[in-house]
Symmetry: C3
Subunit: 270 residues, 3 copies
């Protein structure tokens, strides 16, 4: 296999025909290309949901994969388009609107898609995925170095989303996204717990039982656990936490920690 894998993540809707058009353009240019759909079900225009989905999914792919992500409420306006080479070497192509925030850490290089000889001028203003991003991805797939696409950009747009707050003996966060089962993904990462025992999990003022996996709960019981994307999730066994709580984004979650880990060093009160 000579060409890298390409993934697609969009809010186009899987039945819309728009993902198929991306693939048509990609395969017209690179017939042997292997393309994987990560999702075309990102909620429309929801940059945070798209960013969290990319954060959760990209670790499953080889590092030389090229990731095309399009959630693009500003398509056709002055918003820029970028190619990111993230700190571990992955290439990501997207509008410059914060969708790639999780990959903009120290060491990331961000190239503006600017060279008019390599970046097409789209005939239509409403489908840059097909008319601009896909041709750029095809060029990268056959070997174009990202630095050829345009100048390094020091100030890509970053989403500002809530982080967990670490306090004495506790961690506070909020829910940021919901998955297809109704599990709520929070702003608390596995690392925020740092191996400490969670004694009590509170969600929306209610107690959620801290468990290893869904099946450890009772039917209908509110649960909290470390999810497969490395973030604390709120869940209901064989049910939907989102339906249970009638909400999904912005629900407050607090973990009271204990056990062997000393938490005295944690400074910020909350």
């Amino acid at each position: 296999v000579a060409t890298p894998l390409v993934t697609l993540t969009t809010d186009y809707g899987s039945g819309s025909g728009y993902p198929g058009q991306l693939k048509g353009v990609l395969l017209s240019a690179v017939p042997e290309l292997r393309i994987v759909d990560i999702s075309h079900g990102v909620p429309a225009y929801d940059l945070m949901a798209g960013a969290l989905l990319l954060e959760a999914c990209l670790p499953a792919f080889p590092l030389d994969t090229i990731h095309l992500a399009v959630v693009d409420p500003g398509v056709g306006t002055e918003r820029r388009a970028i190619c990111v080479v993230d700190p571990v070497g992955r290439r990501l192509v997207a509008p410059d609107n914060g969708l790639l925030t999780p990959f903009l850490g120290a060491g990331a290089r961000v190239y503006q898609l600017a060279d008019p000889t390599l970046v097409p001028q789209p005939r239509y203003a409403t489908f840059h995925g097909r008319d601009l991003f896909a041709p750029v991805v095809a060029a990268l797939a056959v070997g174009l170095p990202p630095e050829r696409l345009g100048p390094l950009t020091p100030d890509p747009v970053r989403l500002d989303w809530p982080q967990a707050e670490r306090g004495a003996g506790q961690v506070r966060g909020i829910t940021l996204a919901v998955d297809s089962f109704g599990n709520l993904i929070t702003s608390i990462r596995e690392a925020d717990i740092a191996g400490a025992e969670v004694r009590v999990a509170l969600c929306d003022g209610r107690t959620a039982r801290w468990v290893r996996t869904f099946g450890d709960g009772q039917p209908g019981e509110l649960l909290a656990l470390v999810g497969s994307g490395g973030r604390v999730e709120v869940a209901v066994r064989e049910g939907s936490a989102a339906s249970h709580l009638h909400r999904w984004r912005g629900v407050e979650v607090r973990l009271l920690l204990g056990g062997a880990v000393t938490l005295g060093a944690a400074r910020s009160p909350c």
Copy 2:
């Protein structure tokens, strides 16, 4: 890559298992085949929606692609099955029920799937996609000439759908379909405007602002623009025009034209 690309467009539903069965049949016959889903989310039995989707999506694919399209309320009845070689040489396989209307222009050749040695007799009457069309597509993919499948048919079924009406200084049309964002696709094509400036766009008796792209509008404002499939669309920025208007098909749209183009030659009053 020795075999052509195959695309699939159906109303089967992406979670139904039916598209997978098509792929199983195709890959059993041609293991190296590359298959792209255009959509399995055509509204059930909706031939016009399927035809418009094909019209919008097929230009993204190489001309030697074979397109399999199945929206088939008459499956297993006397309705015929056809392979179209369209005026630009694309091959399309579908039931003969109007689904391929956009590809039946002057120069198209339409072959009935009739040769019993090449066209299977389906054991089940309800899934010709799997039992009849997919085997035919597999045969085409490995080189069968379409004319071997059966006789030329002079009278394939055509859908009768509204065209734009061009009048002095205006173009009238109606909405025909809705996309996954709630954008309404109309019967007015880019060519119907012929480069004229659109001064006023009216939709359902309301004024819609004529814009280049979604982000040019204000939130909640009704917009009209040339969409990526080459048809005028009605849209709402980061919203759904279909929800906004509580309707999607049959909504009247009128564009008042002006500017440099002389419209005096337009004859038909409307």
Copy 3:
């Protein structure tokens, strides 16, 4: 093509990103692997729906295909994981919870996924599809014999679902699942009718007309027929039987048989 095909059937939701992660793991291990989605729209946690979907879809695939199926309410608990080599030689990998019931007939070999050198220890307890099953499938795809995975298991979990009851001149069953069109799949198999003429079909106390295909019915009329998966289905032409009946699982269906086949030999009264 040197490696076998792999299919995926899950309740993850096609827009969830979870199927993409399976593919990332599979393609990281076997870059040239061909992967087909059967469905990611199995109703969440619904083992019977998943089992019926597998039963209907797998005959379309080559026998050397490897089928990965994950509907897994007990993920991360003590439930076992298995690889089945079914009576016709197909390999299926799944949690041991009944999802593979249709493939556990006489002659099936069931291996527990137990060898710690071949079966990964998942870091997260909630996504064995990615962290345990996909790596096992990748190993099988490049030639690992199933018997290396662990010991033969004599007692895999089997779902207990209603069978058709054959009586004098009739067959009784119930609806078990619904497809994307609203067709209801019943517990009555084609073989249960044994070629007999169906004179009257009753569904939920109403008469359903016995037809060959959907288009033989009148709009709005309740129909019964042999569906493409080899089971009797209840349907409405260009409509949804599920919506028509306001139910989908557990609806009683009775077929009164007649014609050339002698049914006197049928013993069990019903």
